[in-house]
C-alpha cells in the first residue's frame, strides 16, 4: 500500500494503482483523454501530465505506477504549462467546427480546452484532413476530429472482443479505421460513441437531431433484455431522442447493447394511440368506454376457465399484478408470463434466478453455458464473461449451438446427452467444475423452451449440486466472512419474466399454460384471451377466441386482436422490473404515451370497474403497497437478494435434439425493436449476410 503526497495531501492507495488514481483519491482533478478506467492504459494523449519530485520532466500520471514516498503536484506552474502545451498540440489538427459538431456541449476536448487550454493557437499552417470511414449503420465518423486516443480501438479489442479496429499509419498520417472499412460487428459497438472524447465517432441515427442542453434526462431501466441495464433516456417534448447508459457496477458497468441504445426510434412508429374494436371484421377506432363496454359484454356469462391471460416480455410488474388481480376476480386460473413456453418452475426462487449475479461472474473460475448464446441473449453480460476470461484462469464449456462468443470455450456437445454426461461425472468438464472454487452454470432459454425443459432444469440442478456450485457462507482462517456462492444461473431473455414468476403470473390450479391456452383457444374451450403486450406467440392458433390486446405497438398481437387497448411503452410509464438476477429496479417515465394511450396498470384498473369488480387500488402507490404486501421481494429496490435453494425441475426423459437458441435476430426481439428503422438496418448489415452464408453452406 504505497503512500503518496499529492498537493501536500497524503494518501494511501492499493498496490498497483496509478499516480492518476492516487490523484483522484486525493481530490486533485487530472484531465485526460486516452485514459479510461475500464480499458488498458495507452498513455498517448499526454494530457494527464503531473509534476513529480526528483523527476526532470512532468510524468504521464495514468501510466506511472504509484510508488511509496512519491511527491506529486498537480497545481504547479509547470503542470499548468504542460497542460497548455499538450492542449495546443492536440488542437493543432483539430478542426474548429464545434458549432456543427454533434459532440458540442458534451465534448471532453471542448471542456478541457476551456479549463486547461491556452487562450489561442500559434499554429497558422494548414490543418490536416482525414477521410471519413464507414463503420456500420450506428457509428458516424468525422475522422478529421480524431485525436488518436485509441479508446475505441481498445474498447472493441478488449471489451467487445472484435478485433476489427486499429490505428493505421504513424505520426501525422495516423488514422483510426476498421479493417478495410468493414462495419464494426459487435452488439456493443455503439459504446465507442460514448467513449470518444471528441466528435470523431458520433451517433448516426442521432446525427444533427438535438443539443444536449435541450434534452430532458430521465434515469430509468432498459427492457430490451433481461439484464435490466441502467439507462438514461433523453427526450425533447414527447419524443424520445436517444438512450445512453448509466453507471451501475453490478449490472451493466457503463455499457449498453446497441439494441438498448437504438431501438428507441421504434417508439415513434407503429404506435397504438387509441382504442380499436373489430367491427364487421375490421378494426375501427372507438372510445375507451366503447372498448370497455364491448369487453364487458363479451365477458359476461363466460366462466373463469374460459378466459386466459398471457403477459408479454417487456411489461412492468405493476400491470402484470393488476391483470393477475383482474383474472383472479374473474375466476380464471389460466395465466402465464412465459410466452416462449420456458419450463421454469416458480416453486423455488433460486430455480429461476441468475444466482451468481452478474458481478459474480468476475469471481467464477469455471462456467458451463447450456442452451444459451449470451452474446445475443444478454450482450452486456457476455462482455462481463469476456472480462473475466481476459483475466485468465477461466474455463468455459458450452453445450448447445456453437457460436462466436468473443472468448474461447470448449464445445462439449449439442444437447441433453452431453448435459447428462456432465451430471453423471462422465464428461471431462465435470471434473473441471468440481475442481473450480466458484463454478457456475448458465442455463439459457434454448434449453428450457422445450418439451423436456423441466427435465433439463432438473439435470442442471443436479450438476449444480454435484459439482459444488452451492457454497454456503463461511469464515476464513482470519475470521472474515466469506459470502455464500450459488453458481446456478438462469439467463432470461425477457425483461418481465422474473417479475412475472415472482408475482406468480402462472397457471393456477387446473389452469393452462401458454401451450394449453393456444390449444384450448383453437379448440374453442377458451373463449377470451387477454394479451398484455404478448406478441411472441403463434396468434394463428388463437382460433375463434375473443382477443383483447393491450400494448403499445401494432405488432402480431394487435393484428389478431378484437379489441385493442393502447398502453404505454417502457419509457412512458413508471414501473418496476426484475432483472435476471432477481434485482428489482424502478423505471421512470421519460415522456407521455401518444394520443389516448394510457399507463398499463391504469387500463386494467379501469377495465376491472367495467367488469363489475373494481381492483382495490386507485393510484400507483396503492398498487405498489398491495404488491409489496403480496411478495416482500418488491420491498427492496436495486438489491439482488440471495435466494434459498430448494427443489425445482422434474426428472424425466430428454430428447436428443440439440439445444437451440431463442434469439434468432439480436436486433429484433420485441415490438419496439421490430418497429425500429435503425434495428432494421442493423439486421440487414449484420444478420442477414451471415444467414445467407450459413444457408448456402448447408
Amino acid at each position: 500500500m504505497p503512500k503518496l503526497t499529492i498537493n501536500g495531501v497524503e494518501v494511501e492507495v492499493p498496490a498497483g494503482a496509478s499516480v492518476l488514481q492516487a490523484c483522484e483519491e486525493a481530490g486533485a482533478e487530472v484531465p485526460r483523454f486516452c485514459y479510461h478506467e475500464r480499458l488498458s492504459i495507452a498513455g498517448n494523449c499526454r494530457m494527464c501530465l503531473v509534476e513529480m519530485e526528483r523527476s526532470p520532466k512532468p510524468v504521464a500520471s495514468c501510466a506511472m505506477p504509484a510508488g511509496d514516498g512519491m511527491v506529486i503536484r498537480t497545481d504547479s506552474e509547470l503542470v499548468k504549462k504542460a497542460r497548455e502545451g499538450v492542449m495546443e498540440f492536440l488542437l493543432i489538427n483539430h478542426p474548429l467546427d464545434c458549432p456543427i459538431c454533434d459532440q458540442g456541449g458534451e465534448c471532453d476536448l471542448q471542456d478541457q480546452a476551456m479549463a486547461f487550454g491556452h487562450h489561442s493557437s500559434r499554429y497558422d499552417e494548414n490543418k490536416r484532413a482525414v477521410e471519413d470511414k464507414y463503420m456500420g449503420p450506428l457509428v458516424n465518423t468525422i475522422m478529421t476530429r480524431c485525436i488518436h486516443c485509441t479508446r475505441c480501438v481498445r474498447f472493441s479489442t478488449e471489451v467487445a472482443g472484435v478485433t476489427d479496429m486499429g490505428l493505421l499509419g504513424r505520426g501525422e498520417n495516423a488514422e483510426i479505421t476498421t479493417y478495410l472499412e468493414k462495419a464494426l460487428d459487435s452488439e456493443l459497438s455503439a459504446n465507442v460513441i460514448d467513449l470518444c472524447p471528441v466528435g470523431a465517432l458520433t451517433s448516426k441515427p442521432y446525427a444533427f437531431v438535438a443539443r444536449p442542453w435541450e434534452l430532458r434526462k430521465t434515469e430509468t431501466i432498459d427492457v430490451m433484455d433481461a439484464v435490466g441495464s441502467n439507462i438514461r433516456v433523453d427526450a425533447r417534448g414527447s419524443e424520445v431522442l436517444r438512450v445512453l447508459p448509466r453507471l451501475h457496477e453490478e449490472v451493466n458497468e457503463e455499457w449498453i447493447s446497441d439494441k438498448t441504445r437504438y431501438a428507441c426510434d421504434g417508439l415513434k412508429r407503429q404506435r397504438l394511440d387509441r382504442p380499436y374494436l373489430r367491427k364487421d371484421g375490421k378494426l375501427q377506432p372507438v372510445s375507451w368506454d366503447d372498448a370497455f363496454a364491448a369487453i364487458a359484454a363479451k365477458m359476461k356469462g363466460l366462466k373463469g376457465a374460459e378466459i386466459a391471460a398471457i403477459a408479454g416480455d417487456t411489461v412492468d410488474v405493476e400491470s402484470m399484478f393488476a391483470l393477475k388481480g383482474l383474472m383472479t376476480a374473474l375466476g380464471s386460473p389460466n395465466l402465464d408470463c412465459r410466452q416462449d413456453g420456458a419450463k421454469l418452475d416458480a416453486t423455488t426462487r433460486a430455480g429461476y434466478l441468475f444466482n451468481s449475479t452478474i458481478a459474480g461472474i468476475e469471481e467464477a473460475d469455471a462456467i458451463l453455458i447450456v442452451g444459451a448464446n449470451p452474446r445475443w441473449d444478454a450482450a452486456v453480460l457476455n462482455a462481463r464473461i469476456r472480462k473475466r476470461w481476459l483475466e485468465g484462469g477461466l474455463k468455459v464449456g458450452l453445450i448447445g449451438a456453437p457460436v462466436d462468443l468473443t472468448y474461447k470455450y470448449d464445445h462439449l456437445g449439442a444437447g441433453a446427452q452431453t448435459l447428462t454426461e456432465v451430471a453423471d461425472g462422465k464428461n471431462a468438464f465435470a471434473s473441471v467444475l468440481k475442481d473450480a472454487k466458484k463454478p457456475m452454470i448458465i442455463l439459457g432459454m434454448g434449453a428450457l423452451t422445450r418439451e423436456d425443459g423441466a427435465a433439463v432444469l432438473a439435470t442442471a440442478r443436479k450438476i449444480a449440486e454435484s459439482t459444488g456450485m452451492l457454497v454456503p457462507a463461511s469464515k476464513d482462517e482470519e475470521g472474515n466472512e466469506v459470502p455464500a456462492w450459488n453458481g446456478f444461473s438462469v439467463l432470461h431473455t425477457a425483461a418481465s419474466r422474473v417479475g412475472g414468476l415472482d408475482l406468480g403470473f402462472l397457471p393456477g390450479k387446473g389452469g393452462a399454460d401458454v401451450a394449453g391456452m393456444l390449444e384450448g383457444a383453437s379448440k374453442g374451450a377458451i373463449k377470451a384471451v387477454y394479451l398484455l403486450g404478448a406478441d411472441e406467440i403463434d396468434t394463428q392458433r388463437l382460433g375463434d377466441a375473443f382477443v383483447i390486446y393491450q400494448g403499445h405497438h401494432g405488432d402480431r398481437g394487435a393484428h389478431r386482436a378484437d379489441v385493442i387497448l393502447p398502453g404505454a411503452a417502457y419509457t412512458e410509464k413508471d414501473g418496476l422490473y426484475v432483472n435476471t438476477e432477481g434485482r428489482v429496479q424502478m423505471g421512470l417515465r421519460a415522456s407521455f404515451p401518444p394520443g389516448e394511450a394510457r399507463e398499463d396498470w391504469a387500463i386494467v384498473r379501469a377495465l376491472s370497474a367495467h367488469l363489475g369488480d373494481a381492483l382495490p387500488y386507485d393510484s400507483l402507490e396503492q398498487l405498489r403497497a398491495a404488491l409489496r404486501k403480496s411478495n416482500e421481494i418488491f420491498t427492496e429496490i436495486d438489491i439482488a437478494p440471495e435466494a434459498a435453494w430448494g427443489p425445482f425441475g422434474a426428472e424425466g426423459a430428454m430428447s436428443e435434439t440439440g439445444f437451440g437458441t431463442t434469439v434468432e435476430n439480436f436486433y429484433m426481439t420485441d415490438p419496439i425493436s421490430r418497429a425500429s428503422q435503425t434495428m432494421a438496418e442493423c439486421t440487414e448489415v449484420f444478420v442477414l449476410p451471415k444467414q445467407d452464408k450459413t444457408g448456402t453452406e448447408g
Binding site: V130, E131, T157, T163, D164, M165, G166, L167, L168, G169, R170, G171, E172, N173, A174, E175, T177, T178, Y179, L180
Partner: protein, 220 residues
C-alpha cells in the same frame, strides 16, 4: 494525401513459396510459444521480397492466419513502417534520405537530379515501372551523406552528377558497385588521411611500436 497508401488492384490470393514457408517457420520457431506474433515483421519482409517488393492484402491475410493474430494488427504494423510497400513499386525502389546531415550535404541536388532525369516526385513511380521514389528519414549512414538507397543497397556521397550516372547505369540494367559514388574507401576522409600525419617522421614512436610488436614492453 492520405498517409495510408494501399493498392487498389489487389491480387486474389497469395501464398508463400515452399522455400519461404520453411524460412517463415524457422523465424516463428525463434519465439517462445504464445509469442508468435513477434514474427510479424520478418514475415512481412519475406512476403514483400517474394512479391515484387510490395505486400498485397492477401499476404496480410496469410500472415495473420499463420501467426494467429487479427488482420488489423498486421496491417497496423505494415502501415507503420515506411519500409513496407502496400502498393507496387518500380524495379528500382529509390529511397533518398533528406534528414538534416544529408540535407546539409546536398540531398536537394539528389532529389533534383531524380526529378530531372526521371520526372519523379516523392511517392511517384515512373511510367515504365522502372523507378519509384520515396523520400525517407535518416538511413543511418550520415558519415557518407547524402545517401540514396536503391532496393537493398546504399549509394553514398551522392551529388547531382554521380546520381545522374547511377540512374543511367540502372536504366541500362547495370548494377554499379555499391558504396561511395565519389570513389573514396568506406568513410575515410575524402582528401586522404588528415590525422596522425607526423607519425611516419617520428622515430621514437616507430621504435616504440616495434618494441610492442616484439613483445619487449610487456604490453600487447
Amino acid at each position: 494525401m492520405s498517409g495510408i497508401d494501399i493498392a487498389e488492384n489487389q491480387p486474389e490470393s497469395f501464398a508463400f513459396t515452399p522455400e519461404n514457408m520453411a524460412k517463415a517457420d524457422a523465424i516463428i520457431a525463434k519465439y517462445p510459444e504464445g509469442r508468435q506474433a513477434s514474427a510479424v515483421m520478418p514475415l512481412l519482409d519475406l512476403a514483400q521480397r517474394q512479391h515484387d517488393n510490395w505486400i498485397p492484402l492477401a499476404a496480410i491475410d496469410v500472415i495473420s492466419e499463420k501467426l494467429n493474430m487479427p488482420r488489423i494488427r498486421v496491417l497496423e504494423v505494415a502501415t507503420f513502417y515506411t519500409m513496407y510497400n502496400l502498393k507496387p513499386v518500380g524495379k528500382y525502389f529509390l529511397q533518398a534520405c533528406t534528414t538534416t546531415p544529408c540535407w546539409l550535404r546536398g540531398s536537394d541536388q539528389v532529389m533534383k537530379c531524380i526529378k530531372d532525369k526521371l520526372g519523379l516526385d516523392n511517392h511517384q513511380t515512373s511510367e515504365d515501372g522502372m523507378f519509384t521514389l520515396l523520400e525517407v528519414e535518416c538511413l543511418g549512414a550520415c558519415a557518407n551523406a547524402p545517401i540514396l538507397q536503391v532496393n537493398d543497397d546504399f549509394y553514398e556521397d551522392a551529388n547531382y552528377e554521380n546520381t545522374a550516372k547511377l540512374l543511367d547505369a540502372l536504366k541500362k540494367g547495370e548494377v554499379p558497385p555499391v558504396g561511395s559514388l565519389s570513389g573514396r574507401n568506406v568513410s575515410e576522409p575524402e582528401k586522404g588521411a588528415q590525422t596522425l600525419l607526423s607519425y611516419k617522421d617520428n622515430e621514437a614512436a616507430r621504435s616504440y611500436d616495434a618494441k610492442i610488436s616484439a613483445g619487449e614492453t610487456g604490453e600487447k
